[in-house]
Amino acid sequence: MTPHKRLHIKTYLMVLVMILAGPMGNLMLSKGMKNIGKITTEISSPSDILHVLARVLSSGTIWLGIASLLTFFVAYMLVLSWADYSFVQPTSAIAYAVVALLATLLLGEVVSPLRWAGIAVICLGVFVVGHTNPRTTENR
């Protein structure tokens, strides 16, 4: 295998970890918080805040979500150490679609056609933002 090809595989593998771990993290946070219950009804007086916080911090699902988001973050930093930001950032825009897809499949959320269209436009927007110069403040 040529070094060039290996770099490609390594990059795509890491991007795959990013676009799965990030959305999975958000999904688990969502599931964990749904188990705790609507925060505005759970907290009716200031003394409830600590009680709810203790339940949040003792939820295994929440910690799994945080671990998954940390995995995303480490993969993001690792891939940025060799790949261009202007490649990685637009590619990771697909995570918005992955969140919606996994939420319908795993959490049974209903995503309307208009929401899918909105998500597609957001992906496109992030893609365009990412295809710009990542550094503009240097004197050249």
Binding site: L29, M33, A100, A117, G118, G125, V129
Partner: protein, 124 residues
């Protein structure tokens, strides 16, 4: 109404925190040396920059706002709407960090806004 408050906190505190961290890291300077001892030195320098702590504080507020809203809204709604962070990021980059935001980046940001609008309308 409460949703608007939580979304504002996710977008403004979350992005504001990232901008502060970016400012702190620019103050420290580009990291060239990735040996463990050098990274420890960078961290020791970073924890003395006040922008880093303001940034971490704001990002914490943003994270707990995300948890709060996820306790009653679908994740397939919350995550797309929080893409508004790109808008706050561009405005903050322009006015807080003095970055030049070109027309192409503004066009992307407008698309993100349009997409979020569709997601919000699509909620019905």
């Amino acid at each position: 109404m409460l949703e608007v408050l939580f979304f504002s906190l996710i977008v403004l505190a979350g992005t504001g925190g990232e901008l502060c961290v970016s400012r702190a890291m620019k103050q420290i300077g580009e990291v060239h040396d990735f040996r463990p001892s050098a990274i420890v030195r960078v961290i020791l320098r970073a924890v003395r920059v006040k922008w880093l702590w303001i940034g971490i504080g704001l990002m914490t507020v943003g994270f707990f706002s995300l948890l709060a809203i996820l306790s009653f809204e679908n994740v397939s709604f919350v995550v797309p709407v929080s893409a508004l962070g790109y808008v706050a990021g561009a405005l903050g980059g322009r006015f807080f960090l003095g970055e030049r935001v070109n027309w192409r980046r503004w066009a992307g940001i407008l698309l993100v806004c349009a997409g979020v609008t569709l997601v919000v309308i699509g909620k019905g």
